[in-house]
Amino acid sequence: MNYKIKYDVIVIGAGPSGVSAAINCAQKGLQVLIVDISHNTGGQIYRAPPKSYKHISEKKLQENKTQEYLSREIKKNNIFTAYNHTVWQVSPGFKVDAFNDISTIQWHAKNIIVATGTYEKIIPFDGWTNPGIIGLAACTVMLKSHHFIPSQKIILAGNGPLLLLVAYYIIEFGGEVEAIIDTSSKFDWIKSTVSLISNPKNFKDGIKWLTKILFNKVPIYSNSMIAKATQHNEYIKVKIQNINTGKQESLVTGTLAVGHGLIPSTDITRLLGAKHIYNESKGGWIAEIDDYLRSSLDGLYVTGDGAGISGAIAAKDKGLIASLALLYDEKIIKEKEFKIKTKKIFKRLYKYELFAKAIAKLNSTPPQLLNNIKDETILCRCEDITKKDILEAIDNGAKDLNQLKSWTRFGMGPCQGRTCQYSVAKVVAEELKCNVEDIGYLTGRSPIRPVPLDRAIGEFDYNEITKIEAAPL
């Protein structure tokens, strides 16, 4: 595809929020490009199945149907798409660099809507780096979009509704859930139902999942966590510990999937130097936004769960809000229209936020989970940095996350700290007896995904290399 270089709006991320924002902008006549690493719309929540898969019948998963709907809407509204493109850099003046299988390309945009969603929060434990142990969110993608069961027997651990959803699909698809290990108590779940009812559709889903789990007599370990996991060829030995009593029990499984909630992706907003605030119930660090999802930088909007966790249904509405703000700021819609339309959406969003708060409670990280991290436990997987390495640097005077990064190499690997920053920050704050927000966040660095050098440089002659003034002699 031949891309234009300049767009009115570039939407990064084609999940429900990005798509909804893109459509709203395009319908008002703006030139919109939507970029996504995947080969189609859907984001993580509705990730599109591989292109090579063909439907057998009209029978479809709801998630797959939603994805197809998003895709149709994008086409209908003449939105430029750049699927299979990984954004690796966004720089001021809004230049967006992305690579695909062949090369890297740069687009310019007057406005950017960041709709990059989240990644999974997984609190480290002894042995969590063993191959075979995967994220709970990874498990959902594996089931719902790729239609694979990870292994015959599976243990699910962590907290929040994802435990139920994954268990449901595994059973539905013919697998066996050996155990669900939940840091929350049954009482926590009962407490939350009052708020969860505020979103009847999701609540109904939850009941459906739970019914199947109970019907299949899946053992549920409440108030429990994984104390340790060890790898033995084809199986994983899992030590389960009650977080209140300390009582331990061991199980053996093929796959261990763990997840403790979601973390908003702030790669792009940090890279652009937007302001960020810490909000534990929204997932940790998020870009500072106003009610209309404007960031602290002109022309930069943040939507979806990346602007704070509030779920997939809210994501669509947040996309509308962000795009309405953009249209209003661009003087395409008048204040009256802006106010009326957003007011209506805010009413709906209010209910979703109640639901999200209840979910956030279920996904909160109990201190026992962090206390379970041993000195020898690896925190930063990319660089093999243990808790002990971090504590030693603190002993020698390191005071904030960026200093710890340069002293220990934590967060310097190819994932740029996405996997470990949350846990490292908690460990450091505990050690320094301060709040997580006091030790800062990792400065955004390009590339936000590792960029292959061969594609970055492309084909070139030596004399085509940018000319630059010689250094003084």
Binding site: P49, Y53, N130, P131, G132, A138, V141, P150, R418
Partner: protein, 96 residues
Amino acid sequence: MNLRVSNYFKRSKKIKIFVNNESLEAYEGECLALVLYINNIKNLRLSPKNKDGRGMFCLMGSCQECVVLIDEMKVTSCNVFIKEGMNIKIGDLDEL
């Protein structure tokens, strides 16, 4: 047990890929990370310092744990859809 769920989708044709020169059957267009995982090829690379085995983890292109070598280049196998005859190298990638 068949770990492929076929209630909703039909896979494409059967193909062969090569993992460290050993052939492996799978269906064209399937996700490489998952094909390896369900075939119990979970240990994809070694960590830099301790040289511990690592494998697929986040399945969304974020964690970089499922990296393998294809055509001498590092790629996240969770973003690769397999093709006939694809050559994949796993192991101590930093030394290959």
